[in-house]
């Protein structure tokens, strides 16, 4: 079985300030790791993913996440946030079976304050 923990349900941050959204996972097997973002009134969309190789992965809009196997973490960071980053962010893990069964965290609402 696998699980994902997002300890922060809400994170308020001022515009242009840095932000870190925390994610820890638990699994007895190797996993893939994902961050999904949900903008208001929309479904989730993939922000970035870690499959293998470099432990630092980046998205096209300036977010990055680092896979830390020893700490079983996959924290999401951005050095300078914009109003448009206001959304809910979900960390997720999937095992390596073919059915793509994904386990999601409870989500972190990022509120960017102008």
């Amino acid at each position: 079985a696998q699980s994902v923990t997002q300890l922060d349900s809400q994170v308020p941050v001022f515009e242009e300030a840095p932000v870190e959204l925390r994610c820890n996972y638990s699994s007895s097997v190797s996993v893939y790791l994902f961050w999904y973002v949900q903008y208001p009134n929309q479904g989730l969309q993939l922000l970035l993913k870690y499959l293998s190789g470099s432990t630092l992965v980046e998205s096209i809009n300036g977010f990055e996440a680092e896979f830390n196997k020893s700490q079983t973490s996959f924290h999401l960071r951005k050095p300078s946030v914009h109003i448009s980053d206001t959304a809910e962010y979900f960390c997720a893990v999937s095992d390596l079976r073919g059915y793509q069964k994904v386990t999601f965290g409870t989500g972190t609402k990022l509120q960017v304050i102008p």
Binding site: Q6, S9, Y32, F34, Y36, N41, Q42, G43, L44, Q45, L46, K49, L51, F90, L96, G98, Y99, Q100, K101, V102, F104, G105, T106, G107
Partner: protein, 113 residues
């Protein structure tokens, strides 16, 4: 671009009614999923399907059933709706490629009164 379409954005039903939530994807994906999203609980998997006429229970299947008669369509059925099934329902699809992400629809907000 992959498109996952959920037939209704908002739905209001009465307790005891039979409810159908429809989902269609246009990218020939093998796998399809139904999640429900509740505040503080994140997304929980109800059912998924990896092929036509195939289905597997997720983490919270009680009170739900599904149907997949065609590859592109995956229906969620509430046989007898109850108030505790008031929620946001999200459909998703993905290919069988091991690193393929989930593609989500915009969700159906169901209210059972």
């Amino acid at each position: 671009d992959v498109k996952v379409t959920q037939s209704s954005r908002y739905l209001v039903k009465r307790t005891g009614e039979k409810v159908f939530l429809e989902c269609v994807q246009d990218m020939d994906h093998e796998n399809m999923f139904w999640y429900r999203q509740d505040p503080g609980l994140g997304l929980r998997l109800i059912y998924f399907s990896y092929d036509v006429k195939m289905k597997e229970k997720g983490d919270i299947p009680e009170g739900y059933s599904v149907s997949r008669e065609k590859k592109e369509r995956f229906s969620l059925i509430l046989e007898s709706a109850s108030t505790n099934q008031t929620s946001m329902y999200l459909c998703a699809s993905t290919s069988s490629s091991y690193n393929s992400p989930l593609h989500f629809g915009n969700g159906t907000r169901l209210t059972v009164t």
